[in-house]
Symmetry: C2
Subunit: 429 residues, 2 copies
Amino acid sequence: MDIATRVHNHKWKIDPIVRSLIDTDFYKLLMCQSVFHNKPDTQVTFSLINRTTRIPLAKLIDEGELREQLDHIRSLSLSRGESTWLRGNTFYGKRQMFRPDFMEWFEKLRLPPYHLERKGDQYELTFEGKWPEVMLWEIPALSVLMELRSRAVLNTMGRFELQVLYARAMTRVWEKIEALRQIDGLSVADFGTRRRHSFLWQDWCVQAMIEGLGDKFTGTSNCLIAMRREVEAIGTNAHELPMVYSALAKDDAALAQAPYDVLSDWHEEHEGNLRIILPDTYGTQGFLDRAPDWLAGWTGIRIDSGDPAAGAEIALRWWLERGEDPTTKRVIFSDGLDVAMMQDLQKQFSGRVQVSFGWGTLLTNDFRGFVPDDALAPFSLVCKAVSANGQPTVKLSDNPEKAMGPAAEIERYKRVFGVGPQARQAVVV
Amino acid sequence: MDIATRVHNHKWKIDPIVRSLIDTDFYKLLMCQSVFHNKPDTQVTFSLINRTTRIPLAKLIDEGELREQLDHIRSLSLSRGESTWLRGNTFYGKRQMFRPDFMEWFEKLRLPPYHLERKGDQYELTFEGKWPEVMLWEIPALSVLMELRSRAVLNTMGRFELQVLYARAMTRVWEKIEALRQIDGLSVADFGTRRRHSFLWQDWCVQAMIEGLGDKFTGTSNCLIAMRREVEAIGTNAHELPMVYSALAKDDAALAQAPYDVLSDWHEEHEGNLRIILPDTYGTQGFLDRAPDWLAGWTGIRIDSGDPAAGAEIALRWWLERGEDPTTKRVIFSDGLDVAMMQDLQKQFSGRVQVSFGWGTLLTNDFRGFVPDDALAPFSLVCKAVSANGQPTVKLSDNPEKAMGPAAEIERYKRVFGVGPQARQAVVV
């Protein structure tokens, strides 16, 4: 390393975890553009929720360090090269996915303030403001907390202990890749930004997939890594759209309609691989039963909770009922995947529907069993829209362990969306 | 990396494996000094012997590349810093171990020519010349061939495949270190230069031992690594001394005396930890039975062939017979060691004698099972003095699998040294 580089590196007061506004999931930017056009002034609150309460985040992570990292993110703005890439790159075969008015807004954006408070052994971290601004906090906030927790554990380890830790992690990822390589017709993308072990580790995993999987690796949800490694940026939309639209609904009738309004807005903007249904926010079966016919014409469905095979079977039956040919459709599995599950799902659905996998935490953060007390094992940290214009949001999903919102509202949503008893599934990550 | 470094690196026509005359075993330099004083004009031939004939070295390694590497070694001379280190460093607590006349000679030394010929799938590689010069070829010749073979296999692998290969190797070494760390009173040194996977890998292994074993790691036989990593250089003497002294013996009586002449010369030069008996060249039991009493006063014994526990028991009995207290003596095990064997030997001999381990090939080249056809597994390559002043050398050792020399001479040596039937031991490395 030359002297100038070393001196430059010493100038950093901290070692920033998130160094770019596009070190985030691609679907966030797609949704952000949609929100920027359709609901720019909605006031939304995002809140961090540690579902794994046995991990005492506030004991592990120094509040001052956390503030420094969050403050650093607030100092970031879109760089010229990043802007050029977003404006000029082809996403899903389409150029100028991001329109000039959105890009001009994004180029000027700085992330809004955060509210951080320690409550016992956990942090209360919230972001309040205009929806298109605060929504961009979700991914960097999660990445920062995940990586600060990793650093807290790594901090006590020696240099070679560290090297061997990463050697073990590399070996594990590579063995997974070697197993995946055997799967005929595999199509897998990295969805692991939010709960990654660290930025550099995610970047390594993506590069390993590029070399190890060839065409079977379809890209990454992380825009910065997609840009740097010249692979596809992958993603469409998430639960926050139906959650916020639903919270804004004036009555039960509007609530019942809200999830379809989301997709109607989306339908106008996008086509092809971006027309992916995320049906589970308020129960997959009911959502599809009541869906308008035009939705059956969409390209695919993403299965993000509940038993994945059961969810896909529901989707296939629904397409057949609506006169669609499932073999032309795509099912994207994205919930708690690891190799064995991908092998099983590919086997069950190959030939019946096009199958894709969005592989997340167990790609970018499988450090299970490597250190005492399993202190580097991934855990379930989320950052969700909890209210919109003062109304609480609700998420039911196909797994009651993932339900969110005030109890009374959860009951109301279950009634409105006709959700009956659900099978509980342990939330791995 | 700065531009100048990159440009500099591009100037190398080859990527040299051996880049320093002290990238060799410490005992070679100690022996070289002894030979320089006692037998400077003896004409000796060293010859490469691949005991693992199923490895077709000449098919794997390009002759041109091998010549380039050997030619590069002939271009090396002692650097100023290396000379300063040899002259000024403390070895086994003693300064000026290398005397000025030897250092002046060594500073001017370039290695003599080599003779290389392809014979079927193997190479015939020999070095003829004055003993103190040609003896310094042994270790670099072995290192070059071992590493060229590694490179031939690595050459077809992708970048991440390579990274994962080393990740696996690191994990394996570290797990060995973690197991060794549990052994009370352990004392282990790196003896792995000659059959290492590569220079950088040996250097990594030494650093890992420094961090992982602390005081239980006593140093390395490799002078360059000892200098750079600021650890002890370890070693005393080897079979080549009795082999050459014996070949020079004029009759059977002189032959019977030759191994003791070696140690008599050595005795005058060295004390303490350098007075280590290597008794197995022509059979340990007979060598000790006939040894002069002054030899029982030496510090220890190195066990380098045969069943190691049996060899050590012979040594302990011998010390007791000669009125010595074995608990003040040291046994150094250095043949085909790995973790389980070290655990067993430590258990058997701890408290009865001081125990040390010289851990070689299975430290610095345990790539077994990592690639198809086990193409990176270590193999048994040696480079030995095969003749002295026109007379063939002989080695018997405590394992007939390791015997060397013309059959008639082997029989004569067995008669002279009273070596009966020996137990065969598979030669691992």
